[in-house]
């Protein structure tokens, strides 16, 4: 066996596996989306029918809110952790990156413990405060798994940001807010866009968290699930999956072209 054949033989298992379990299923998914009663107009239906359109808008709004909240919190915390060295810094970092390993369902469960009917907030505040099953609960759940993802990307960029630039701005009389606005934010911009794209894409596709929390409200992953399992509307479920998949794929492509690193979706 010569060298070339050996290398080709090495690639064969991967080719066979990805052809059988990735390429063909995705082609099948695409074809299935056009096999319903509406034909290929099923993609137009997503925009025409209020049920799907409203869900799409809600999903985008919750994901956007999550993205901006995660960016604000993680940039502040990330800059603080990069610029200051103190005892307990490692522990803070460990806590902030903890949720990376949590599956989305567990995060949903944690939000229920926080804001459910028997949750902590309901117990310690007067009155009946239950927010776990509303858009707020969903937002908090998404925020929970977005903070560490954004934090790691922003911190990696902040390490490379030259502190001398901030000092120069300060000696020239800039106040902290203009330093933030004119020096730090522009310097971090590529990583902010990248981690924002990651956070948005992950929130859009999060099924596990939505599965535990979205009992009263609908988000796209839940609609895909119910269309498929309850209504057996396979064409619509496929079409929504494809739209969702293309959105998240493009966003993560943008993210990667800006930072060169990969982050898994999920949640």
């Amino acid at each position: 066996m010569n060298n070339r054949t050996f290398v080709m033989a090495c690639l064969t298992p991967l080719l066979v596996f990805s052809l059988a379990f990735l390429a063909l299923p995705l082609i099948r998914l695409f074809l299935a989306s056009g096999e319903g009663d509406a034909g290929w107009a099923v993609y137009l239906d997503i925009l025409r029918k209020p049920r799907y359109l409203n869900t799409l808008i809600l999903t985008v709004l919750v994901s956007l809110a999550t993205t901006f909240a995660a960016l604000a919190v993680s940039t502040t915390a990330g800059m603080f952790l990069v610029r200051n060295r103190f005892r307990g810094r490692g522990s803070l970092l460990a806590v902030l990156t903890l949720p990376l390993a949590f599956p989305g369902v567990v995060i949903g469960f944690l939000i229920i413990l926080l804001g459910g009917r028997q949750g902590l907030v309901n117990q310690i505040t007067p009155g009946h405060v239950v927010f776990a099953y509303s858009a707020l609960g969903l937002f908090l759940g998404y925020l929970y798994f977005s903070i560490p993802r954004v934090l790691l990307t922003v911190m990696a960029a902040a390490e490379k940001l030259d502190p001398a630039l901030e000092e120069a701005a300060r000696t020239m009389g800039a106040n902290p807010y203009s330093v933030m606005k004119d020096v730090i934010i522009p310097g971090l911009m590529p990583s902010l866009i990248a981690s924002g794209a990651i956070a948005f894409a992950t929130a859009m596709g999060a099924f596990g968290t939505a599965f535990t929390l979205a009992t009263n409200i609908d988000v796209i992953p839940m609609v895909i699930y119910t269309e498929f399992t309850l209504s057996a509307n396979i064409a619509m479920a496929s079409a929504l999956s494809i739209v969702l998949g293309i959105i998240t794929w493009i966003l993560l492509l943008i993210a990667r072209s800006l930072t060169g690193s990969t982050v898994a979706g999920g949640g």
Binding site: M1, N2, N3, F6, V7, A9, C10, L11, P13, L14, F17, S18, F21, L22, P25, R28, L29, A32, V73, T76, A77, F80, L92, V95, L96, L98, F102, P103, V105, V106, L110, L113, L114, Q118, L120, L140, Y144, I147, R149, L152, P176, G205, A206, F207, F211, P221, Y225, I234, S238, S241, L244, G245, T248, W249, S261, T262, V263, A264, G265, G266
Partner: protein, 241 residues
């Protein structure tokens, strides 16, 4: 003065974020260990619930472990030779293939599960067996394994090492076994840890692909999972960047 005020605000945001992430985790562990969750901690601490989870879900836990192990073996068998092949033949075709197998990282697991179900759902024997879930897990974790090994192989001068071995008469297989595998070991280990962690925690694909005969409910044991997850974020973290 203003500077210290900014710092104080930053510290406050950082600590609030920590509290937001940590408090529910502690609540969950407490809920798992409190005798009566509705009465609170005053009812005493117990390991009863942990035992109960163990009794109820022991076979699910073993199935999860077994699935993670099988997933690891599959990703190694497919991913190690593939990473070597990709490292030896850098070029646009290899880039494209790498991009393609990384698709499961970007596309939500729900969409992938739906795609798999539609193509193979009619194959009853395959559909109801645990191997169907295994396929989903391998699909999702394979890019981590390939990338992790590829990163190590790309960082060293593989070509020179191999040419040296070849000039001494080593066959391609001998070179793979004696040069590539030992050198790629750090990548293999990092990839293996990531694969096992992700496979144990995977829910989205599993939930869609599972059938009553192959039960696997990761949410039956959130506390146990939290304790596992606590120990393992490091390898995942390193493979993300």
């Amino acid at each position: 003065m203003l500077k210290s005020k900014t710092k104080l605000l930053q510290l406050f945001v950082t600590l609030s974020a920590c509290a937001f992430l940590l408090v529910p985790t502690i609540l969950s562990v407490m809920a798992g260990l409190t005798a009566n969750y509705f009465k609170g901690i005053s009812s005493g601490l117990t390991l009863k619930w942990v035992y109960q989870v163990w009794e109820l879900y022991a076979d699910s836990i073993f199935l999860s472990m077994w699935l993670a192990l099988a997933c690891l073996i599959c990703t190694l068998l497919i991913g190690l030779p593939a990473a070597y092949g990709l490292a030896r033949h850098p070029g646009w075709l290899s880039r494209l293939l790498e991009e393609f197998i990384s698709l499961p990282l970007a596309v939500p697991g729900l969409a992938l599960a739906l795609a798999l179900l539609q193509l193979y759902g009619s194959m009853k024997g395959f559909r109801v067996s645990w191997t169907f879930i295994l396929v989903g897990h391998v699909l999702y974790t394979l890019p981590f394994m390939v990338r992790s090994i590829l990163a190590v192989l790309a960082a060293m001068d593989l070509k020179t090492l191999e040419e040296g071995a070849a000039s001494l008469g080593a066959s391609p297989w001998q070179r793979f076994r004696d040069i590539v595998v030992p050198n790629a070991m750090p990548g293999i280990l990092a990839g293996a840890l990531t694969v096992v962690t992700l496979s144990i925690g995977e829910f989205n694909l599993t939930w869609m692909l599972h059938t009553p005969t192959s039960k696997r409910f990761p949410w039956g044991l959130p506390t146990a999972m939290l304790l596992c997850a606590w120990k393992l974020p490091r390898p995942i973290r390193s493979s993300f960047s």
